[in-house]
């Protein structure tokens, strides 16, 4: 059984919002129809996004780390939004595990948004239907695209390759290997929703310096302390300034 998902490496994400804007661009002009943007330059801007990047500060000054945290629909394996939907508009595709909304069936009762602990469903105030990340289902199966581009728009856009896309049920896929090698985890495990999207944790990066690296092996003089520049009291080339 296939379960497509995103794996997001928090160690790499720099919070540039490229995934947010490319998601918005692709989906607002794609099969899902436009995504509302009201008063984008006004006093109280609002709109639909399938993907948000939030920023958290962990620790106490001065020992803090900034965690940029992208979040879209996690395509839970046991999605709480699906059974509560009274019309069957919210559904999970058995063939690839993507959770989708059938806009033609949705009555806009918002019950699924209440039933999602992650807050990733947003109602479209203009079309009055519930919208959410589709994992770019219109893109990843598009046979007219080159094979390498059949990925969600956010994955294509990420400049640091913080986002991986693949089948988390296939133990040999890049995403499964990334999860198992880096201790990938799911959000809010306490509710048993089993999110398909995983996050790779921040890793401590320590500089390991070997003595060889301090003394250049190819320096014939072995005089690392001597700087290859003239004394600051000596006149410089133009005889005007000095070091």
């Amino acid at each position: 059984m296939t379960q497509l998902a995103l794996v997001i490496d928090l160690n790499v994400c720099v919070g540039c919002h490229a995934c947010v804007t490319s998601c918005k661009e692709w989906n607002t002009s794609g099969a899902a129809g436009y995504m509302s943007d009201d008063r984008p330059y006004g006093e109280d801007p609002t709109g639909n996004f399938f993907n948000r990047v939030q920023t958290f500060e962990v620790g106490e000054f001065p020992n803090t780390e900034t965690v940029h945290f992208p979040k879209s629909c996690l395509h839970c394996e046991d999605p709480p939004c699906v059974p509560v939907c009274p019309t069957g508009a919210s559904y999970k595709r058995p063939e690839d595990g993507i959770v989708l909304v059938d806009y033609d069936k949705c009555i806009g009762c918002k019950y699924c948004a209440w039933a999602c602990p992650y807050g990733v469903r947003e109602i479209d105030e203009h079309q009055k239907v519930m919208k959410k990340c589709t994992l770019c289902v219109d893109r990843i199966y598009d046979a007219t695209l080159p094979e390498a581009e059949r990925k969600p728009a956010c994955v294509m856009a990420c400049p640091t390759s913080a986002r991986l896309f693949g089948d988390v049920h296939d133990p040999n896929s890049a995403v499964s290997i990334a999860i198992s090698e880096n201790g990938g985890y799911a959000l809010m495990p306490e509710w048993g929703t089993k999110p398909a999207n995983h996050y790779l944790p921040r890793r401590k990066t320590r500089i390991r310096i070997h003595p060889d690296e301090l003394v250049r092996a190819d320096n014939p003089l072995k005089k690392e302390g001597v700087q290859p520049k003239p004394d600051f009291r000596e006149p410089s080339l133009d005889d005007v300034t000095s070091w």
Partner: protein
């Protein structure tokens, strides 16, 4: 959560309608075994019409929280999994039963219509009404479970939600029945008034228990589980956008903490002591107006109670929306 007034009206109006219908059926059942004086069919017919009107008003109110009311017929599709879908089926079924119950009383039909002769007065209405009673309790269960089944809304996810919905419906329905009886059938006034006091005191206990429970509640989700970072001190610096969104509007009640707390006391006063005092005064002075006033005050209190019920629920998604911009 940000309470929608359509849902507040839906749940309180149908609760009162269900309670009123149960009150009518109780009186008929008691009078069948001669514990209460028998009432003419018109008493039950008009009472059923009032109950039906409340149920219809609730149904109309419910349409206002739908984005696409014209597709509402689709919402009966998932009765196997969705309590909302089950409510959508049970509510019209109860309306049908209440309408049939009223009609049978109005025309005085008996089981003789289908060739079964019994010596019991109103036998057909008793049979239809029994089905209606089952549907009314089923509807309380469905309405309560819509909220109680969302396990991470921990303020709602308790059997007390279903019990409170049922008892609030019974209390307001029996109070309305008391006012109706004071006007149309004074012999039933003390019977209904007595059950109103029982239901009101019962729901006072269960609602206070739920308030205490919610106060002591420890939320399972924290900012640590929400982003999966194990550190005691995590502060949100940006929620990724400026201004608002659906997430910032639909999951916060947006009321200052003091006003929020005062609404709790407002509903505790309006639902319990004031209507009970008016009810006693009305029964002593045999005044339908005072009892009707008790019902109106309690209904206003119920609106506040339902608002507070919705607003008090703390959705874990709010962990992701703590700081603007």
């Amino acid at each position: 959560m940000n309470p929608a007034f359509s849902v507040i009206f839906l749940t309180t109006l149908i609760g009162t309608g269900q309670g009123l219908f149960l009150a009518l059926y109780t009186a008929q059942a008691y009078s069948t075994v001669a514990l209460l004086p028998a009432q003419p069919g018109s008493f039950y017919a008009v009472g059923s019409a009032i109950a039906l009107a409340l149920l219809i008003a609730g149904l109309i109110a419910s349409f206002f929280h739908l984005g696409h009311p014209e597709r509402a017929w689709r919402s009966a599709a998932r009765w196997r999994t969705s309590w909302l879908s089950r409510e959508v089926i049970v509510l019209p079924a109860l309306m049908g039963a209440v309408a049939a119950y009223g009609l049978v009383h109005y025309y005085g039909w008996g089981l003789g219509l289908i060739g079964i002769n019994t010596p019991v007065e109103g036998d057909l209405a008793l049979v239809i009404g029994a089905g209606g009673v089952a549907l009314a309790f089923l509807l309380f269960l469905c309405t309560g479970m819509i909220y109680a089944c969302i396990k991470f809304l921990q303020e709602w996810a308790t059997w007390l939600t279903v019990v409170n919905y049922t008892l609030f419906g019974l209390a307001s329905g029996f109070l309305l029945a008391t006012a109706y009886a004071a006007w149309r059938a004074p012999a039933l006034m003390y019977f209904y008034g007595g059950w109103t006091v029982v239901a009101t005191l019962a729901v006072l206990v269960t609602r206070v228990v739920s308030l205490i429970r919610n106060r002591r509640l420890k939320h399972k989700s924290t900012i640590q589980t929400a982003i999966g970072v194990r550190h005691a001190r995590i502060v949100q610096k940006s929620q990724g956008f400026m201004g608002g969104s659906f997430n910032t509007r639909d999951f916060f009640h947006g009321v200052a903490p003091r006003l929020f707390r005062s609404i709790k006391w407002i509903f505790l006063v309006l639902v319990f002591p004031v209507p009970l005092a008016l009810l006693f005064a009305g029964m002593i002075r045999n005044s339908p107006v005072l009892i009707a006033a008790a019902f109106v005050v309690q209904y206003l209190g119920l609106l506040a109670e339902r608002w507070f019920f919705f607003a008090q629920a703390n959705h874990p998604q709010n962990l992701y929306y703590q700081t603007i911009s």
